[in-house]
C-alpha cells in the first residue's frame, strides 16, 4: 500500500510545482498588462471572423457597425476584459492549461493553422522524440562505460572520463552543436545542416524513416556528447562507493562469481542513487534541448521558442513555458515511479514519513 501513497505524495508535490509556475506566469503577465494584450488580440480575431459573416446578412454599413459594436462589448465581457487582471486569474490559468490563447502573431503550424494550440501540439512529438532518443542512449552509455570505469578506478580511461565530464560541464550544448554543423555538415558533408526531413521529404515510408534517422544523428550526437559526461561520472562515483560496502566483500567471500557480484550486489543497490541524479540533471538537459533544436532547426518546441522571441509573441512564449514545465513534471514523475520500482526501501521510507504527516 505504501507504494501507492508514496507516488500520490510525489505527484501532489509535482502538481504544486506546476501550479506555482502557472501562478507566477499569470501574475506577471497580468501585472504587466500582457494578458490584456493577449485577450484583446483574441477579441480582434473573433470580430474579424464575425464581421465577414455579418457583412453578408446586413447590407447597411451603419447597421453593421452598430451590430459589431454590440458584439464587441459582449466579447469583452465574456473574456473578462472589463474586470481587473487579478479577478481574471483563474480564467487565465485555465486558458494556459488548455492552451486556449488565441492565435500566434506570425508563426504558422505545418498545416497552416495559426492557433497556438495547433502549433504546439504539432511540435510536441518532435521534441519528445529527440529527448527520449538521447535519454536512452545516455542511460545505456552511463551503465556500460560508468560501470567499466568504476571497476578500475585511477586507470587512464577513468582519468579521461573525469576530465571529460569536467569539460562537458563548461561546454555550452548549443555551441557544441555549432561545432558539429561546421565539422560534419559544412566541411565533411556527411550529415545534413538541420531540419527533420530532406526537402522534398521522401514519400516511401522506409526511406522516409531512414531520412529521419539521418537528420536525427547530429542533434542527438551533440546532446549526448554534452550531457553523457556527467552521467557517466555520476554512475562511476556511485558504483565505486557501493563496491566498498561490506555486503559486497561478503558476497565475494562467499565465492560468488564476479559477474553476479557486480550485477546483483553492486549495480542493483547503486541504481536508485543513479536515478536520483538523473532526475536532478533533467532540468539542465531540457535547457540544452531547447537550444539544440534552435541550432539544428529541429521543428520542435525549442525552435518555436526562438521563433516566438523573434516575432515578439507573448502568448506563444507563455504557452511554451507552461508546456516545458509540464513535460518536465511528467518526466520527473516517470522517473520517480521507476525509482520506487527499483528501490524497495523508498516505499517504507515514504510510508513512515506519511504516517508522521
Amino acid at each position: 500500500m505504501g507504494l501507492k501513497r508514496a507516488l500520490t505524495f510525489k505527484a501532489a508535490s509535482l502538481v504544486v510545482v506546476l501550479l506555482f509556475v502557472l501562478l507566477l506566469t499569470t501574475i506577471i503577465i497580468g501585472a504587466t498588462g500582457i494578458s490584456d494584450k493577449i485577450l484583446n488580440g483574441m477579441v480582434r480575431d473573433n470580430l474579424r471572423a464575425i464581421r465577414q459573416e455579418l457583412a453578408r446578412e446586413i447590407r447597411n454599413p451603419e447597421d453593421l457597425e452598430r451590430a459589431l459594436e454590440k458584439i464587441k462589448e459582449d466579447l469583452i465581457r465574456s473574456y473578462g476584459l472589463d474586470k481587473p487582471w487579478y479577478v481574471r486569474m483563474p480564467d487565465m490559468i485555465w486558458r494556459i492549461v488548455t492552451l486556449d490563447l488565441g492565435n500566434s502573431r506570425t508563426v504558422v503550424s505545418f498545416s497552416g493553422s495559426n492557433k497556438i494550440s495547433d502549433i504546439i501540439l504539432e511540435r510536441l512529438p518532435n521534441t519528445v522524440l529527440l529527448m527520449i532518443t538521447v535519454l536512452i542512449i545516455n542511460f545505456a552509455l552511463s551503465l556500460v562505460i560508468g560501470v567499466r570505469v568504476a571497476t578500475k578506478p585511477g586507470s587512464f580511461l577513468d582519468r579521461l572520463i573525469s576530465m571529460y565530464s569536467a569539460v562537458s560541464y563548461a561546454l555550452p550544448t548549443w555551441w557544441l552543436g555549432i561545432l558539429m554543423i561546421l565539422v560534419f555538415a559544412f566541411y565533411l558533408k556527411i550529415f545534413p545542416f538541420g531540419g527533420m526531413y530532406s526537402t522534398p521529404p521522401p514519400v516511401d515510408p522506409l526511406i522516409r524513416s531512414l531520412d529521419l534517422v539521418w537528420h536525427l544523428c547530429l542533434p542527438v550526437l551533440t546532446l549526448v556528447i554534452a550531457t553523457s559526461g556527467s552521467w557517466i561520472y555520476i554512475t562511476r562515483s556511485i558504483v565505486i562507493t557501493t563496491a566498498q560496502e561490506d555486503f559486497v566483500s561478503i558476497a565475494r567471500a562467499k565465492g560468488l562469481s564476479e559477474r553476479i557480484v557486480l550485477w546483483r550486489y553492486i549495480i542493483r543497490p547503486a541504481a536508485p542513487p543513479i536515478l536520483t541524479n538523473l532526475i536532478l540533471s533533467l532540468a539542465a538537459y531540457l535547457g540544452g534541448a531547447i537550444l539544440t533544436e534552435t541550432i539544428f532547426s529541429w521543428p520542435g518546441m525549442g525552435l518555436l521558442y526562438f521563433e516566438a522571441i523573434m516575432s515578439v509573441d507573448e502568448a506563444l512564449i507563455l504557452a511554451l513555458t507552461y508546456m516545458y514545465t509540464l513535460i518536465y513534471v511528467i518526466a520527473r514523475f516517470v522517473l520517480e515511479v521507476l525509482y520506487v520500482i527499483v528501490d524497495p526501501r523508498v516505499r517504507y521510507e515514504w510510508a513512515s514519513i506519511l504516517k508522521k504527516v
Binding site: 555550452p172 555549432i178 532540468a283 535547457g287 513555458t321
Partner: protein, 477 residues
C-alpha cells in the same frame, strides 16, 4: 580553525587542476582589467552598434594570421592616409595641390573594394574640385573620380569647412561613371572592347588592379600610386587628410563580421562582462542561499518548514524556460538578467547547507556554547558559519560557470542586453546571418571558445577545492 584552514590551503595548492584554474583566472582578470582601462564603458552603444564606425572595414574578413598557414594567399586590408602636400603649383586661375599614397600589391588577389575618404576640407572662395587618379605598375593612368566640394551657404563666412564631423566617403563600386572610364581605358591600353555595363559586371577592382588574361583578369602585382589632385581657387585651400581604403580579405587579429566590426574588440569586451556576471550572480546567490540554509538548519521550526517548502518548489522548476519567459517579459537589461539568475539560483544551495548545519549543530562545542548562554545569532555566526564556510565557498565557485553559461544562452536566443557586446551575442548575430552554414569559422569558434575557457576556469578551481571540503577524497590522489 586556523590549523584546519592552513591544511586546506596546502591541500588546494597541491592539486594540479587548481593551479591551472588559478592561472586561467589571472589571465581572465588581466584581460578584463586591460579592456576596462582601454575601452570606454559605453563602447557597445558608441562604437560596437554603430555601423558608421566600421564603414571602412572589409565585411566577413578572415583573421590576418591565416596567411601564416596558407603562405600569404590572402590580401591584407590597408588604409593609406596622408596629410602632406606632395606638390603645389599655379595652373591658370587655379592652384593645384597633390597628395600621394603608395600601395604595393604583393599577392595574387584583387582588393575587394576601394573607398576614397576626404577629411576636413577647407576653402576660402569658390568650392574646389578634387580628382583622384592612379598610376599603375605598367605606368598607365586611370582617373578614378572627380568630386566637387559643396558650395558655401549664404549664411556662411569664409573659411568654409567641410567633412569635419563625418568624412566624405566615395565607394568606387557605387560610381556608375567609372564604368565608362574603365571601358575606354581597356580599349586604349589592351584594344579590348568591353561594354561599360559589363565592366561593372566584372568588377572595377579587377580592371584597376589587373590585366586581361585568357577570358578574365589576373592581378597585376607591383606599385600603385594614388594621386589626389585639389583644384583650388585660393592658395590656402587644403584637404586635411586623404585616405584610400583598399579592401582586403583578411583583417586584424580575429577577422570581422558582416558589418565589418573588428571581432577582436567584441571578444575582448566579453571578458569583463562574463566575469562580472559570473562573480556577481554567484556571490549574491551564495549569500542568500547560505543565510537561509543556516537559518533553516539551526533555528528549525516554522521558519525551516517554510524555507524547505519554497526550496522544494523552486528546485523543481525547469530553469531555462522560466529564464526565457522572465527575460522576455522584463527586457534584457544586464542587471535584470543578473537578478533573475539569482532569484532562481539560491534554493539548491539551501538544502545542502541545511543538512551540513544539522550535522554541525549536534557537535559538543555547540552544546557548550549554548550552555554558557551564547545567543543564537552569535552561535550561528561564530560557530556554525566557519564550519560550513569552505563548502559555501566551493559552491560559490561552482555556481560561476552556470551563471556565465546561462547568460550566454539567453544572449544566444536574442534576449541579451543589446547595448553590451557579449560572446553569446556575437554568436547569435553570426548564427542568424548564416555564419555556421557558410563556414565563417572565425565568427563562431572564438566566442564559443571564450565561453568554454571562462567556464572551465571556475570548474577547475572548484575541482581543486573538492579535497579541501571532502577529506576522504585526499587518499585518492
Amino acid at each position: 580553525m586556523g590549523k584546519y584552514f592552513k591544511e586546506g590551503l596546502s591541500e588546494f595548492w597541491a592539486s594540479k587542476t587548481s593551479k591551472i584554474g588559478l592561472a586561467f583566472l589571472s589571465i581572465i582578470i588581466i584581460i578584463s582589467m586591460y579592456t576596462l582601462f582601454t575601452f570606454p564603458l559605453d563602447y557597445g552603444t558608441r562604437y560596437w552598434n554603430n555601423p558608421k564606425y566600421w564603414a571602412d572595414n572589409p565585411k566577413i574578413a578572415m583573421p590576418e594570421w591565416i596567411n601564416f598557414f596558407v603562405g600569404n594567399k590572402f590580401l591584407e586590408h590597408k588604409v593609406l592616409s596622408t596629410s602632406t602636400v606632395q606638390k603645389i603649383y599655379p595652373f591658370g586661375a587655379y592652384y593645384i595641390k597633390t597628395y600621394e599614397v603608395v600601395y604595393d600589391l604583393m599577392v595574387d588577389q584583387f582588393p575587394t573594394f576601394i573607398t576614397l575618404k576626404f577629411d576636413n576640407v577647407t576653402f576660402f572662395s569658390r568650392p574646389p574640385t578634387i580628382e583622384v587618379l592612379v598610376i599603375r605598375p605598367d605606368n598607365s593612368t586611370i582617373n578614378l573620380c572627380r568630386s566637387v566640394v559643396e558650395p558655401p551657404l549664404p549664411t556662411e563666412e569664409p573659411p568654409y569647412s567641410r567633412y569635419v564631423v563625418e568624412p566624405k566617403r566615395i565607394m568606387l563600386s557605387g560610381e556608375p561613371q567609372l564604368s565608362l572610364v574603365l571601358s575606354n581605358f581597356l580599349l586604349d591600353k589592351y584594344n579590348l572592347s568591353i561594354d561599360p555595363k559589363d565592366v561593372a559586371e566584372i568588377g572595377y577592382e579587377k580592371v584597376i588592379f589587373g590585366e586581361p588574361y585568357e577570358n578574365g583578369f589576373k592581378p597585376l602585382k607591383g606599385r600603385y600610386v594614388f594621386t589626389t589632385v585639389l583644384y583650388a581657387r585660393d592658395a590656402r585651400d587644403q584637404i586635411g587628410t586623404v585616405s584610400i581604403v583598399i579592401g582586403g580579405q583578411v583583417y586584424g587579429f580575429m577577422g570581422t563580421d558582416i558589418l565589418g566590426r573588428d571581432l577582436s574588440q567584441g571578444l575582448l569586451f566579453g571578458f569583463p562582462v562574463a566575469l562580472l556576471i559570473g562573480v556577481v550572480v554567484s556571490v549574491l546567490t551564495t549569500m542568500i542561499g547560505a543565510t537561509l540554509g543556516i537559518v533553516s538548519g539551526y533555528i528549525g521550526g516554522r521558519a525551516d518548514e517554510i524555507i524547505q517548502r519554497v526550496c522544494d518548489v523552486m528546485n523543481n522548476i525547469p530553469q531555462l524556460p522560466i529564464l526565457i519567459f522572465l527575460t522576455f517579459i522584463f527586457g534584457g537589461k544586464l542587471w535584470i538578467i543578473v537578478v533573475i539568475l539569482v532569484l532562481f539560483g539560491w534554493p539548491s544551495l539551501v538544502i545542502v547547507v541545511r543538512s551540513m548545519v544539522l550535522q554541525a549543530r549536534s557537535s559538543s562545542f555547540i552544546e557548550a556554547a549554548i550552555s554558557i548562554g551564547a545567543s543564537r545569532w552569535r552561535i550561528m555566526i561564530r560557530h556554525i558559519f566557519p564550519q560550513v564556510a569552505p563548502y559555501i565557498l566551493a559552491q560559490m565557485i561552482f555556481f560561476t560557470p552556470s551563471a556565465i553559461l546561462a547568460e550566454a544562452a539567453l544572449s544566444f536566443l536574442g534576449l541579451g542586453d543589446p547595448s553590451i557586446p557579449t560572446w553569446g551575442q556575437i554568436l547569435e548575430y553570426g548564427f542568424r546571418n548564416g555564419a555556421v552554414f557558410l563556414g565563417y569559422w572565425w565568427w563562431v569558434l572564438p566566442p564559443g571558445l571564450m565561453i568554454v575557457f571562462s567556464a572551465i576556469t571556475f570548474v577547475f578551481i572548484a575541482l581543486g577545492f573538492e579535497p579541501v571540503i571532502n577529506p576522504r577524497l585526499r587518499r585518492w590522489r
